[in-house]
Amino acid sequence: MKPVVDLKYCKGCNICIYMCPKKCYSKGVDISPRGYFAAVVSEPQNCYNHKREGKLICELCVLSCPDQAISWHPEGEETK
């Protein structure tokens, strides 16, 4: 599974960048539709849950995101 940041909800607080132990996230450079510099999942292959099915581990980014903007999606799924 890979984490996906929902640009509709992200407020650019960068907590995910701080919390991720594997440095999957990086600061955004483009302004999101809501006017924030939303975080980007730059290296999803580093994630503990890369190619993992069933029960996920770690999940620090999903649990600590204050805006419920991060969700898990299968690797093959196309997301914008």
Binding site: Y9, K11, G12, L60, P66, D67
Partner: protein, 272 residues
């Protein structure tokens, strides 16, 4: 239950500032509630006034948004009138400790069956950053520009002394531990308090050289001490809090008889 079955999607995104810890606590609560498999129809969320007291408005369940500081008092009445419901109180430090301090202490003393989640952000965030009862010593706020001369309240220790059944304190940096604690508290009878030390980068952090949420989380990580370690190091527990440090961990886990068992209103329904 999916995330947006639990939350009201039409109200999203919520009003909290970027980096506010309230959303983290909502996530942890959702995770614990979902793992227990409880029903939202059988749960009532009660809150007072403040940033953290807006959380029940975003949850897809019945909510009681009450007057300032009286959340525990309203919840006590609700529990005694409808003992089959599960009551969860979301409240802040000013709501629970300052204005509602007496209700809080007497709620603990009576040991009425409810779960109180107190989100302690060390400041009156909604009204513009005035010093609250939990602002650490020597920290700045709008009403204490030269540093806070007073010493803060320790809400968790007060609850232990007043007789709550389960008391724990975590920060928003310790999300997995917090989820586990919320799960224990939801299953347990009696008055359960979970104090969550949360970040307020907008009003608390900005005035104390911690203007970013991640800097505040790093501060929690550096300054939080496990309760067992604080005791074994033979350091006075009160002193630790006064130095701007946070004692975290499970404070008490006991089984005192709760109020509705004693007066016999429990006969209406079984708790899960």
């Amino acid at each position: 239950m999916e995330v947006f079955d639990f939350y009201r999607k039409d109200r999203w995104p919520h009003v909290f500032c970027p980096g506010c810890g309230n959303g983290t606590v909502m996530n942890c609560f959702y995770r614990a509630f979902n793992e227990l498999g409880w029903n939202l129809d059988n749960t009532v969320f009660v809150s007072g006034i403040g940033c953290s007291s807006r959380i029940p408005l975003y949850i897809n369940a019945d909510a009681l948004h009450t007057t300032h500081g009286r959340a525990v008092a309203f919840a006590s009445g609700l529990k005694l009138a409808r003992p089959e419901l599960d009551i969860v109180v979301f409240t802040g430090d000013g709501d629970l400790g300052a204005i509602g301090g007496n209700h809080f202490i007497n709620g603990c003393r009576r040991n009425i069956d409810m779960d109180v989640i107190c989100i302690n952000n060390n400041i009156y965030g909604m009204t513009g950053g005035q010093a609250s009862i939990t602002t650490p010593h020597d920290f700045q706020s709008t009403t204490t520009p030269y540093g806070n001369r007073e010493y803060p309240f320790d809400l968790a220790e007060i609850a232990v002394a007043a007789g709550a059944n389960y008391v724990a304190r975590w920060t928003t940096r310790h999300v997995h531990e917090l989820t586990k604690s919320i799960k224990i508290a939801l299953e347990k009878k009696g008055f359960n308090l979970i104090e969550v030390v949360s970040q307020c980068p907008t009003n608390f952090g900005r005035r104390n050289k911690m203007g970013d949420a991640s800097i505040m989380l790093e501060w929690f990580k550096e300054n939080s001490v496990r309760r067992e370690k604080a005791r074994s190091a033979a350091v006075d527990h009160v002193d630790l809090n006064l130095a701007g440090q946070v004692t975290i961990g499970e404070f008490v886990n006991r089984d005192r008889e709760c109020y509705q068992e004693r007066i016999g209103v429990e006969k209406h329904g079984e708790k899960h």
